[in-house]
Amino acid sequence: MLTPPRVLPAGDRALVVEYGATIDAQVNARVRGLAATLDATAPTGIIETVPTYRSLMVHYDPLRLAVSDLERILLAADAGLADEAVLDRRTVEMPVVYGGEFGPDLAEVAAHHGLSEDDVIAIHAATDYLIFMMGFMPGFPYLGGLSPRIATPRLATPRTVVPAGSVGIAGQQTGIYPTDSPGGWRLIGRTPVQLFDAARTPPVLFEAGDYLRFIPVSARESAEIARRVASGAFAPVIRVESVHPS
């Protein structure tokens, strides 16, 4: 029996529906289930919802929807979640060139764990990573599932510029920088794929609840993909499987 979520005020125009306080795939699945239900039913007065690791932020217009009514809508939607029969699982494949100029910290990460560079690449590319949420900067995915065998502390001194597409490791996390930005993650590779493009609908290639799989490619393959990205002819490989909950 699932416990109902806590509904907490976040000022006069948002409520937080909180399912837990930890990073947990089941908690996260309920957050996304509620978001999907609200997206599908689009109740009047709900402006937008933002899924996070453990809670759903619901922005609403109190001049059009009374908070007591909103609370009822949210709890009713949550109660209906158990009826979800089939969930699609989307896995988005991200081509990555590992090492060299594209992943200047790969050698250090390998040395830190007493592994070869090829070992690190094999381990990093052997997992479907769950996107728990998006945040931090436009298009940035918070990924779960990094192997402890390659978890590595951040750089002592962050770089002032990390190029867009860089794939990094920071402690137990791995992720991709969608745009150029300062950053302290250990960079092990780079994808030629453009993660965020405001002119695209939607502007991102994946969202919370999808999985990411890193596919090692050569620098030559990467350059070819980059050309297709630039001409608008690139679309990532997306695997879709139906998952029947037990």
Binding site: G11, M133, F136
Partner: protein, 357 residues
């Protein structure tokens, strides 16, 4: 087709509207006007929709030249605006001729002024909004603050432009000053703080730091004690979230905030008082005052009644008694003025008012 030529960008002048809705789930900040009430008021004065884009002008304002005759309105901070060298009325729709130059003599009150033009600033929308998010070069004019040499497109106004002469009653115009009471609704993580920590937050005075910007307003002052720690597993943020980091000091998250955050949030500043905070200058003193959610919604309704009154012919009257002699709608709107005047004056407003019918 009309336009505005930028002769000097000033400290920070950006295109803003009511913000970017629907992309926060992709990690895209909402952005939009820091003082949403002033932006809405400016738009209504010139006859635009609330959602039209304006210029948000910070502290030392820009120097602008209008390319064609337009109706303009200046709201929010008093930057000492001059039209062709002569002082111009704020919170009032004013017709300006082609080639008119707007300059700013220097700030007198507040932090951010809004310039609405009939027809709205007509840059292309990005993800459904014209608001500028400079960090990602998103929206606005080329995704950045305005600078000399820019030519900003202006949309086509209603024919003829509505608005000249429309204004706010004198006593309804906010005066910002340098001491602010910010009403807050407690939560969502107020249970992460000790009783002493909550008392500190609600009893002490905090000073706005120079390290404040469109992302957040930082404060110095007494430390607020957590029960166990400042870090949480990241959850969502909203406009006005009061984050308390490991150093025990509050940061109020503003328009360009990240969509998620990993620090405890003790409370949320009410929407009406976020507009007030947007007008606070570094060094200003702030108190946080706890109110209930119902009361916060009453304040918001009061602010919207104040906005609705701008459209009404009764607002041309200078005598408040004349407003009360009008129909009940106008009387309610006049009460809305008083609500907002008291809200923006930083005093606790009277009890919540019923929604207008």
């Amino acid at each position: 087709m009309s336009w505005i030529d930028v002769l000097d960008g000033g400290m920070l002048t950006t295109v803003q509207d009511l913000g970017r809705v629907g992309a926060q789930k992709y990690g895209v900040p909402a952005s939009g006007a820091m003082d949403g009430l002033a932006l809405r008021a400016a738009n209504r004065l010139v006859g635009n929709a609330d959602s039209a884009a304006c210029l948000e002008m910070t502290l030392s304002g820009p120097e602008l030249r209008f390319g064609a005759p337009v109706v303009i309105a200046l709201t929010g901070a008093d930057l000492g605006a001059l039209v062709d060298g002569r002082p111009t009325a704020r919170w009032q729709a004013v017709s300006v001729a082609a080639h008119t130059v707007l300059t700013c003599a220097g700030v007198r009150d507040g932090m951010r002024a809004y310039l609405a033009v009939s027809g709205g600033i007509d840059v292309p929308p990005a993800l459904g909004s014209r608001s500028t998010f400079t960090r990602s070069a998103l929206g606005g004019f080329e995704g950045r603050a305005l600078r000399a040499g820019d030519r900003i497109p202006v949309g086509v106004a209603a024919e003829p432009p509505r608005g000249p002469g429309r204004r706010l009653l004198r006593y309804a115009v906010p005066v910002y000053g340098h001491a602010h009471s910010l009403r807050v609704v407690m939560g969502p993580q107020d249970d992460a703080f000790t009783d002493e920590g909550i008392r500190t937050f609600l009893a002490e005075t905090y000073t706005l730091s120079t390290q404040s910007d469109r992302i957040g307003c930082r404060f110095s002052g007494p430390r607020i004690a957590h029960r166990t720690g400042a870090d949480i597993v990241s959850d969502g943020t909203t406009l006005g979230s009061v984050q308390v980091t490991g150093d025990g000091l509050p940061i109020v998250l503003m328009a360009d905030r990240g969509t998620t955050g990993g620090y405890t949030k003790i409370a949320t500043v009410t929407s009406v008082d976020v507009s007030r905070l947007a007008q606070a200058m570094p060094g200003d003193r702030v108190r946080f005052v706890r109110i209930g959610l119902d009361e916060a919604h009453g304040l918001l309704r009061g602010a919207h009644a104040w906005l609705d009154a701008i459209r009404q012919p009764g607002t041309q009257e200078e005598d408040p008694a004349a407003i009360y002699d009008e129909d009940s709608g106008a009387a309610l709107a006049a009460e809305g003025y008083l609500d907002l005047a008291s809200a923006l004056g930083g005093r606790l407003a009277p009890s919540p008012r019923p929604a207008r019918t």
